[in-house]
Symmetry: D2
């Protein structure tokens, strides 16, 4: 299926004293791909993430690591979103080295985030907005 | 059972433009509790985390969120480690508000990390060190 | 004079692949001391940093490094605030190793932040609140 | 003169609960431009930043803010390096909104970092490498 693809270089700030990407930063890198994908769909990030009326917080996240990432490594993040219910969706991420190509590439890491749409003031669940439904359909 | 308990205040840098803790930072907060627990067991963090001879990278991590955390919130992180195999272990974390006490407290978030012990140069699995086995036994 | 003193351990997430604290994280560590000092003065961090009515953004920051900090290092941050004008103040920070004591201790790093009080909606300068003036007087 | 120019989008992780970029993250964003500039000059970031033989730590950093940056804002970072001595150099950064163009654009922030070249084991100053001298000449 279609996947949104995002290119990224591993920055020095992403690494830790073990010389590789700090584990929680790998999830932050996945979130950047999610943001890029929302922006590509026409969603205005500033208002979307300020949570003025509705907010779409992450209810759960997980990540599995297969290889270490070093400062300067060029990676590709593939993103695939899917609807879970009228008020929630999940995003699956696969991280690859940009130098790997073709059939035999193996993921460096795979991750997943689950998001729930809520009213910002009451924090009760509300249906996903039409713009988010459109975004999910195309990613 | 015994749990290691760590006190923490939510810092401004932990938050994002939605006004609450950025999801990946909650895992970093859990990792701080893991570090405090290792230090309390007598493990020297500087050499442990530099990965000079052996390294103990995180192979997977996951987190579930139940309530938002705001700047200034006082939290408690409960940590419980367990052996998975001769070369791996997992750590379970529960985050509570410090103001909640007694029987009826409900977690803000629960998380888990899995760690594998490897030789830093070959990156092959090696048995956990005696100091790590001792730490797991007591946490 | 009186200084607010804050104890801190260097966390793994503070470090980078060179094995020491990432330079920008040292400023974040100073900001944590600023937050602790505000909280100790009775200021509620959640509302203070949400910038609902007034905000006190950092207009400038600087830091000088004299020694590297490693994961697990125990440090002390000394903080000293002073009024610059009716709508601005500065905070000076000195970072020491906790193991150094007495007269001959030398700073690991010194830093400074300048803050301006603004109306959150217009972003025009407004006078510092009484609670901030009280905080400056005592730190 | 020639300047290295780097494009960047403000990510959600860069922001804080006041809704704008967290001050220390703005310096991290400048550092990303420095990394991109080194990579463009042919320097291999993984070995450069691991500090195996020589390291080039930041001795001081400063930043002045003129406008807030929000999640999703597209910025340009202009970078200009200059030699300070045989073993040190400085980098000046100017951050602009990508939407501003032409003569009348005003910087969002300006920053500066000073770097000293040291032997990683002795931490004594050593002359800058030929590759760094070449990089300084062209940026």
């Amino acid at each position: 299926m279609r996947n949104f693809v995002c290119d990224r270089v591993i920055n020095f700030r992403d690494t830790d004293a073990a010389g590789v990407v700090y584990f929680a930063n790998a999830l932050a890198i996945c979130h950047e791909a999610y943001e890029a994908s929302l922006a590509a769909s026409g969603i205005v990030l500033k208002s979307f993430f300020s949570g003025d009326v509705i907010a779409v917080p992450i209810a759960s996240a997980k990540i599995d690591f297969f290889k270490p990432m070093f400062c300067g490594d060029r990676i590709k993040i593939l993103l695939d979103s899917s609807l879970l219910s009228s008020d929630s969706f999940q995003v699956a991420y696969q991280i690859f080295f940009a130098r790997d190509a073709g059939e035999d590439k193996k993921a460096i890491a795979i991750a997943q985030t689950k998001h729930v749409c809520i009213d910002s003031s009451t924090r009760k669940k509300v249906p996903l907005s039409p713009e988010l439904l459109k975004w999910i359909e195309f990613n």
